[in-house]
Every structure is written in C-alpha cells, then in structure tokens.
C-alpha cells in the first residue's frame, strides 16, 4: 500500500495542494483498508491471543527479571524492591579468579566438540553415501541416529557401565592388558574428563549431525561423477574433487552457525558427568551459574553472568548469521 501512494506524491509535485490532498485521500483510504484488513483477520488475532500471552509471561517476564543483575537481590524484597548496585555484580565476575577459567572451559568444550564431530560426521555422511551394501547402510543409519534421542542421564548410565573403575568394560580391558587390579576412574580424573566429554558427545551426536550432509550429498548432480569417470578419475579422486567441493557451502554454513552458539558448551552433559574433583576443568558458564545461583543463592551475581552470556551469545548469533548470509546466502533468519 505504501508503494502505491509514493508515485502519486512524486508525480504531482507541481501542485503542492493537490499532492497533499491526494496524500490525505490515500491515507484515509489506506486507513480504511487497514481497518478492513484487521477486521477480516479478526479470527487470526483471536488465535494469537493465547500464544502471545504465553510469550509475554514466560519469555518476557524473565527478561524483565534479569534486572536483578544490576541489583543486590534479596528474595524477601523481590525483584523490584531490591537495591540497585550498578555494575557491582559484573565487576565481581570479571575480577574473579574463575572468570578466565570459565570462559576457557566453555570455549574449549564447544570448539573441541566442533573439531572432533564435524570431520567425523562428514566422513560418516560420505561413507553412508558411498556404501554399496544397502543392509549395512540401513543398520548404520538407524543405530547412528538413535543416541541423539537418549537423554544425558541415560548417557551417564551407559558411560558408568563402560568406564566405572570397578567393573566397567573399558577398565576390564585395561586391567587385562596391564595385569593390574586397579581400575582408572575416567570421570574424576582432570586429565581424562575433557576427553570423556568430547568423545561421548561425538558418540551421541555424530549420526544426527551427518543428516544435513547426507541431504546435501544426495543433491549432487550425477553427471559430474559420470564425466569424472570418463576422464578416468578413481573413487578417491571423485570424493576429493567432486563430493567435498559440492558440499562445501553446507560445511561452511554449519561451521558458521555453530560459531553463534559457542558459549553453549552443553549444560546437560557436563552437569550429569562432572563432580567436585573435576570442577576446575569441567565448569562451564552454565554449570557455574546454576551452582552459584541456585545452590549458593547468589542470585544477582549468577544472573549477571547469565546476562553476560546472553548478550555475548546474541552478538555472536547476529555475527555468524551475517557472515553466513555473505558466504553462502543462507541464515537462520
């Protein structure tokens, strides 16, 4: 509607009165149209009432509550009643000894997971794509996607059965090889814990992350392979010169979009697996927020850290989305 009103104003520039009159007419007509449009969509607005109310209560009230990051929150005085303290909570966080270790652990885990599972899922996708045995392919596909649907509580149970120092299967093998009776406790060793986190995540999510690459692979034009075969390229060369370049845009997109969530290192996983002996290498921003906020009742400080992560995460999402749109013309919004 705006588009149609513009040329009228510009073409009647010679007579100002006329143009104003025309503009007024158009405005009135637009208003009437808008009114009619709103009336026509009354039912849609009716449908929107409950979800919008839900969003305001469950998504916007928390944002309003986040003001306690700038307050000395006292449960008795409530969110509004507590006294303002400015940036004191943020200063306490930035100056504390755990600040850098939290950032380091968070980034280490999310980058490590990406470095480990991205190549693995690409290789798995290519193997599934190239596999000439339909039954093997079907079984691998079914089994590889399954762990994504298991919760981290269940995963913890599986890891216990595997890694328990007393009678886990892995320790049975270690004991047999070394000929000792002492098992190794993977989950309480600061050296082994990060690897357990990285590999258990790769085990759980490898198949699921391969789906997007399989979809991209199935879109490759078959004539490319035919031409390459005529030219005498073998399977390795076809993978290297056709398959990988063909899915490069998807790889780049996945990589960039993951960048946007770099501060989400997997709360559920780490929360289930970690324990006091490995806090120094296991603590990520989210687990720390949980412990200091809900177990030690430092609500203001914990909210400040959560808010810091939220703002930083939002900037990263916008940045990664911007880069993604530039590079491969796809983004999340």
């Amino acid at each position: 509607m705006k588009k149609t009103s513009q040329p009228v104003v510009t073409t009647t520039k010679s007579g100002l009165a006329v143009s104003q009159e025309a503009a007024a007419v158009y405005k009135a007509r637009n208003k009437a149209k808008l009114g009619a449009e709103i009336k026509r969509h009354a039912g849609v607005y009716l449908l929107a009432i409950i979800p919008v109310a839900y969003y305001i209560v469950f998504k916007y009230v928390p944002i309003w509550n986040a003001q306690i990051a700038f307050k000395d929150f006292m449960a008795r005085q409530g969110v509004l009643g507590s006294a303002w303290v400015g940036l004191a909570n943020f200063k306490e966080f930035f100056n504390s000894f755990y600040f850098w270790s939290l950032i380091r652990n968070t980034v280490m885990y999310s980058v490590g997971k990406l470095l480990l599972s991205l190549p693995l899922s690409i290789i798995l996708a290519i193997a599934i794509y190239e596999c000439t045995r339909p039954i093997l392919r079907k079984i691998v596909q079914t089994l590889a996607y399954l762990p994504h649907f298991l919760s981290w509580v269940i995963m913890y149970g599986i890891l216990l059965a595997l890694l328990a120092p007393g009678d886990g299967v892995v320790n049975d093998v270690i004991k047999a090889i070394r000929g000792t009776n002492v098992g190794f406790d993977f989950l309480t060793s600061t050296k082994a814990f990060p690897w357990v986190v990285l590999f258990s995540d790769a085990w759980k999510e490898m198949g699921w992350s391969a789906i997007i690459f399989i979809a991209a692979l199935m879109g490759i034009d078959g004539s490319l392979f035919e031409a390459a075969m005529v030219e005498g390229a073998n399977s390795w060369q076809r993978v290297w010169y056709i398959t990988l370049p063909a899915i490069r845009p998807v790889i780049v997109t996945v990589l960039i979009l993951k960048l946007g969530t770099i501060l989400d290192a997997g709360f559920n996983q780490i929360f289930m697996l970690y324990s006091a002996p490995v806090y120094s290498v296991a603590d990520i921003i989210d687990t720390w927020v949980y412990r200091s906020g809900l177990l030690e009742f430092k609500f203001g400080l914990a909210t400040a850290v959560g808010l810091f992560k939220g703002v930083f995460g939002m900037l990263l999402v916008f940045l990664s989305n911007f880069i993604s749109k530039k590079v491969s013309e796809t983004g999340i919004f």
Binding site: F58, L136, S151, V153, I158, S235, L257, G306, G310
Partner: protein
C-alpha cells in the same frame, strides 16, 4: 537446501545413495576397490563403536548376583543372564510412580505445546496479516537473547508453580524453533486452498481447523514427537522445580512422589557408598550395577519404541532445520 531435499525425495532407492546413473556397470580400478573396502570398514567400525556401549549396558542389566567373572566376559556369556534387576524394578512402587509422573509431564507437555505452537505458527504464516512483523519480532527476541536460568526460576517461583508438575513443562511449552519449522510447512500449503475456503464463507479459525490441520498431519506428528522426546528426557526442569512431594487428586494420593524417571534414574546412578545401599538396595536382591543398568534401559524403552516412528519423520520433515543441530 530445499532443492537438495526435493531432489532427494524424487530419487528411488538405488544400491547406494548416489544418482542412479552411477550404478551402471563400470570397470573398477584397484584404487576403487580399496576405496570400497575402506568405506565398508569405516561403516563396520562405526557400527561396533555405537553398538558396544549399548550392548555392555544391556548385558550389565542382566547380571546375576552369583556371576563372578568380569563384565567384559558377561557381554558374551548370554546364557548366564537373569532378569532379576527388571523384576526388582517393576515390583518397586517408587519406580512405577516415577513412570506415572514422567507420563503426566509428557502428556501435559505435548498437549500444551501443540495448543500453543499450532496457532502461533498459523498466525505467523498468514502473510496478509497486519502487524505480523511485530508478532515475528516478539517471538524472535527471546529466541536470540537468552537471559539464563535464574530469571526464569524467579518467574516460576513468582507464579507459585514450584513443586507442581506444570512447572516442568510450562516454561518450555513453546520452542520457537519448532514454531518456525511448523510455520514454514504452513507457508508451503497453496494459498488457493485458503482463498477458495474463504470464498465459500469460512472464517480464519475454520480455515485452520478444516483446511490447514488435515493437510499438516505429518508436521504435527513430527513436531509433537520432538516435543515428546524433549519432555521425556528433561531432568533439569524437574530437578529445579520439583521436590518429590505426593501428587494429590481430591485429597487422594495418586502417586507418592512427583519425581519423574530422569530424576529417579539420576539418584540411582549417582548413589555410591552408604547411599548406594539406602537408594538401591530397596530394589531387592539383584546386584547394584545391574539395577543401575536396568533402570537406564527401562527409562529408555519408551524412546526406543517411539524411535522408528520418529525416524520416519525426521529424515524428511525437518531436514532443512538440521542446520541448527
């Protein structure tokens, strides 16, 4: 991405996933043979790596009290397995209560989620709607700006939901991501259908129920299943908001504790030392590790039963969304 998916759909099932022309008989060189062998070895390795942890847990859950060899041997000696641990769990009232509580969260959650998500997605898919942009902004702001768990906790506390089962599913009852997936599906339904319904005198609500919903069974199933998985697996909200109090209906104790399965499972798994006997030995005479492993499988069973249905949908329904991971 959408093109890739469309192309993938068109293809029939060939011997491998490559375009059909690739399956013509061609002379394979030595390098090709090596390649095929490597692919198959990688596939079999993947199979083993994924299978062993699942199998070892499964084997452990059937361990008997009298079996003295290592767990590694137990994985192969299937004839020594006994279902003691499962009997103990099924005979335990606490475990049954946790199952009921989990199902209450699952059903309440999925019903609420669909009641909220379907209208929201439909509203966003009506492109002629004045103010649609503002509703879009309204849902996108919380999606990209996450203030963390403490403000959300204060909200639930403020409403007075703490200790009640809706506290577990209400805060996560709309996933903006699922909403966007559903909206994209609605947008794909031809506008002509809606127009002709309008000419026949349908209002917008009738269009949703008579035109859109019957055509979107697949996406509703998909999104519903994704919600179901997330509510069934959720232990964080339950841990935050529930305290194991009884659930009462008209004064009658329906279940003695509202802790859902993941919380009970976590307590069982985390139990060690003295606690181990208090928490786990209540379950009878099966070995402690067997009880732990059996409870892992019992909580996974609904997921494993639902999995084939989910698999049918996620490969076609939400491929475009898999980018987000």
């Amino acid at each position: 991405m959408a093109e890739a998916v469309a192309k993938a759909k068109k293809q029939k099932a060939p011997r491998n996933l490559k375009p059909e022309s690739m399956n013509k008989k061609v002379k394979l060189t030595a390098a090709d043979h090596v390649f095929n062998i490597c692919v198959n070895i990688f596939m079999i390795l993947t199979l083993i790596v994924i299978f062993i942890p699942l199998w070892s847990t499964f084997a452990l859950s059937f361990r008997s009290n009298t079996y003295l060899h290592s767990q590694f041997r137990g994985m192969f000696e299937v004839w020594t397995w006994v279902p003691d641990a499962y009997k103990a769990l099924l005979g335990n009232a606490g475990f049954i209560d946790a199952f009921i509580s989990s199902f209450m969260i699952l059903i309440g959650g999925v019903v609420c989620a669909l009641i909220l998500t379907i209208p929201m997605a439909y509203v966003l898919s009506v492109h002629t709607l004045p103010g649609r942009k503002w509703i879009n902004i309204l849902i996108m702001i919380p999606y990209v700006f996450n203030v963390g768990m403490i403000p959300a906790y204060l909200l639930v506390k403020g409403i007075g939901l703490i200790g009640h089962i809706p506290a577990v599913f209400l805060p996560g009852a709309i996933s903006t991501y699922n909403c966007i997936i559903m909206k994209q599906f609605f947008e794909g339904i031809p506008n002509d259908l809606k127009e002709s319904a309008r000419i026949d005198g349908c209002n917008e609500i009738q269009i949703l129920f008579k035109i859109m919903l019957p055509l979107s069974k697949a996406i509703i199933m998909t999104v519903g299943l994704f919600y179901a998985v997330s509510f069934w697996n959720d232990f964080f909200h339950a841990m935050l908001y529930l305290s194991g109090t009884p659930v009462k209906i008209f004064g009658w104790n329906m279940i003695d504790s509202n802790y859902p399965l993941p919380i009970l499972l976590r307590n069982i798994l985390m139990a060690s030392g003295m606690n181990e006997y208090v928490e786990v030995n209540a379950f009878g005479n099966a070995p402690v590790q067997a009880i732990k492993a059996a409870s892992v499988f019992m909580s996974a069973i609904p997921m494993i039963i639902a999995y084939p249905f989910i698999q049918k949908y996620f490969t076609k329904g939400t491929l475009a969304g898999a980018v987000k991971g």
